[in-house]
């Protein structure tokens, strides 16, 4: 079993490393896929394992995006003049400045959202169920509307992130962002996998199944909820920072705090793949991205119609997701012991 897993991991690693050279035309798509998988995995920590269905992780994603770009610019040039218009033409980052700024920006983009999550966590995570969902939805939209009114980060006209410095290779930009997102993806996956093998995951599951009882058992649920949210925020911020550099242009409501697209996508991907599993979000995000890109390419203009229908269909007919379906079908593979007589009895009952 362990050997099999190792082969799968190695295959994915090799595919990931070779992909930008084998499919050079799809580099940007593959980078976005990595970002989507990160977002789905981090949403799953909340929605799947902890049972706190959030629409608010988009807050950390957007925050990370703005912070990364602001730090990258602000380290070397006045931020106000940059965003006021045309700054990106007068100030040019040297390659060293660009990479240095990006590295610092990513660090800030990961740490600050985690701190923000920790600060607001105590207030917000005291809400439960749908109140939490609506509250976080409000939080995400409010962040978008408010950042659209702040002058220094470009307000309504948007924020152009530093253009990639002129190096000799034409392919360098795509490869750089692809490997950034791929490395962060591996980092996220391994971190979440490690977390899921500890007691921490069991605590989160206990909170999901019955928070009052978990509390009665002596678990400080609030502490665990906040830590869980901070972990999500950390990786969401990283993903946002990379996405900002990749897109090259940040708009408050259409790119950064895009609750209508990214904010729903991450929920949808996790549900499509299967909530509360490690591999579910990965599979869900991959399938969703393939479907989305196909649809976006061939039926341009109808994509939101398709998205709306897709949400309704997935939510109503596949609330358990692909992993849930597989689990129903092949419970032995998931390490569940099935009593044959019991199963037959259940089939007969149906």
């Amino acid at each position: 079993m362990i050997k099999n897993n190792l082969i799968i991991y190695l295959a994915i690693l090799i595919f990931g490393l070779a992909a930008p050279f084998v499919f050079p035309a799809f580099k940007v798509q593959l980078s976005i896929l990595c970002i989507l998988i990160i977002l789905a995995i981090t949403w799953n920590v909340q929605g799947g394992e902890m049972g706190y269905n959030t629409f608010g992780n988009i807050l950390f994603y957007g925050l990370g995006m703005y912070l990364c770009a602001s730090v990258q610019v602000g380290m070397f040039f006045p931020l106000g003049e940059w965003t006021e218009g045309g700054g990106e033409k007068t100030f040019v980052h040297t390659p060293a400045q660009f990479f240095q700024g990006f590295a610092f920006g990513l660090a800030v983009a990961a740490i600050v959202p985690a701190i923000v999550a920790g600060l607001i966590g105590y207030s917000i995570l005291g809400l439960r169920g749908h109140y939490f969902a609506i509250c976080t939805l409000g939080l995400g939209v409010a962040a978008g509307e408010i950042s659209g009114g702040i002058e220094i980060i470009g307000a309504g006209q948007g924020f152009t992130t530093p253009p990639f410095p002129n190096v000799d290779r034409l392919e360098a930009r795509g490869e750089f962002f692809y490997f950034c997102s791929f490395i962060v993806l591996i980092f996220t996956f391994l971190a979440v996998k490690a977390i899921y093998s500890t007691r921490f995951k069991l605590v989160l599951n206990a909170i999901r199944d019955n928070e009052d009882k978990a509390e009665a058992m002596g678990i400080q649920t609030m502490k665990y909820k906040i830590i869980g949210w901070m972990i999500s925020a950390f990786f969401c911020g990283l993903a946002g920072g990379i996405m900002g550099g990749l897109v090259g242009y940040i708009d408050s409501t259409d790119v950064a705090f895009d609750g209508r697209e990214m904010g729903v996508f991450m929920v949808l991907m996790a549900i499509l793949g299967g909530k509360g599993t490690l591999w579910g979000p990965v599979i869900g995000a991959t399938l969703f991205h393939i479907f989305k890109e196909g649809f976006w390419t061939f039926f341009l203009g109808w994509q939101y119609v398709a998205l709306g229908v897709l949400i309704v269909v997935i939510v109503i007919y596949f609330p358990e997701g692909i992993m849930g379906w597989l689990r129903e079908k092949y419970p032995e593979r998931f390490g569940e012991v099935v009593d044959e007589a019991d199963r037959k009895a259940q089939v007969q009952l149906k």
Binding site: L127, Y131, A142, G149, G156, G308, I311
Partner: protein, 297 residues
């Protein structure tokens, strides 16, 4: 404070009056929200999009030369059937499920509606001109468009009409019985499926009225739905389910708050302040309840 609004008392009065008239409209939408939440236990994110759709019906009547005020009659009738169709297609599958499922499913409907309206009506901000003129008060220092007064009046008429209907009619009684205990109502011979469909239809019809009035008094745009949903959600959680005077009061309070936020913070922060207020209210209630070791249910 050097805000203009506090130096000129007439401007304050203007903001309060505007807010009250606007708030009555919000309360009407929130009433529909409270109705379906109480009866069917679903939260409808597409509420705002139903409002906008109702507004477009009135706008189209205006385009074809009919006075948009007739939209107040026509729009709810059409919207009732739209609501029933939505119920039959989607909502009846999520009624007994987890609330988050209903939130997500209606979010899907919301996105679908937004884009379909964008195709059908274009992405322009439109309004139906009623030609009602304006009323000047206090030596021309306070202006009130007559359309706003008209819309507030119509909202009150519809709200009172619905209250009476819920109290007196057979369907109204069935709806209230289902809200109290769906199982018991079923045992006593109430066709709950029909009741649910009718409830959602009535909710959509209320949204249609509100939308028609909004298209007369303000502007409509395909993507403007979500703020109306959030407003009505906020009003309902402040007032509580089934507390009708509370819905009216908190609706008007929200209207006044928005007008003041508009003057003090600037128009670009108007929607943002609404969403932030929602978060603050929820957090306030959470802390208040946590003293008794309870939480919002």
């Amino acid at each position: 404070m050097d805000f203009l609004i506090f130096q000129v008392p007439m401007l304050t009065l203007q903001a309060v009056l505007d807010g009250l008239l606007l708030g009555i409209l919000f309360a009407l939408i929130a009433y529909g929200m409270a109705l379906q939440w109480g009866v069917m236990n679903i939260i409808n994110i597409a509420q705002g999009d139903l409002v906008i759709l109702g507004g477009y019906i009135a706008y189209f009547m205006y385009l074809y030369g009919i006075h948009p005020a007739w939209g107040v009659i026509v729009s709810p009738i059409i919207m009732y059937f739209v609501g029933v169709v939505i119920y039959k297609l989607v909502i009846n599958k999520v009624v007994d499920r987890d609330l988050f499922i209903s939130i997500l499913a209606t979010f899907g409907i919301s996105i679908l509606f937004m884009q379909l309206m964008n195709f059908a009506f274009g992405a322009d901000v439109v309004l139906a001109n009623s030609g009602y003129g304006t009323t000047m008060l206090f030596d021309n220092s306070v202006t009130l468009p007559n359309s706003k007064i008209f819309s507030a009046f119509i909202s009150i008429v519809f709200a009172i009409g619905l209250v009476v209907y819920m109290k007196k009619s057979k369907l109204g009684r069935a709806i209230r019985a289902t809200a109290q205990n769906a199982r018991a109502a079923k045992i006593l011979g109430v066709d709950t499926e029909k009741v649910y469909a009718a409830t959602f239809g009535i909710n959509a019809a209320l949204c249609g009225v509100a939308g028609a009035l909004i298209s007369i008094t303000f502007t409509i745009h395909p993507y403007m739905g979500l703020p109306y949903t959030i407003r009505s959600f906020m009003i309902v959680i402040v007032a509580g389910l089934g507390n009708l005077p509370g819905v009216a009061m908190s609706g008007m309070g929200l209207g006044v708050f928005e007008e003041f936020a508009d003057y003090i913070l600037g128009t670009e922060f108007r929607i943002g302040s609404v969403f932030l207020l929602l978060v603050l209210i929820l957090v306030y209630r959470r802390f208040k309840l946590s003293r008794k070791r309870e939480y919002l249910k």
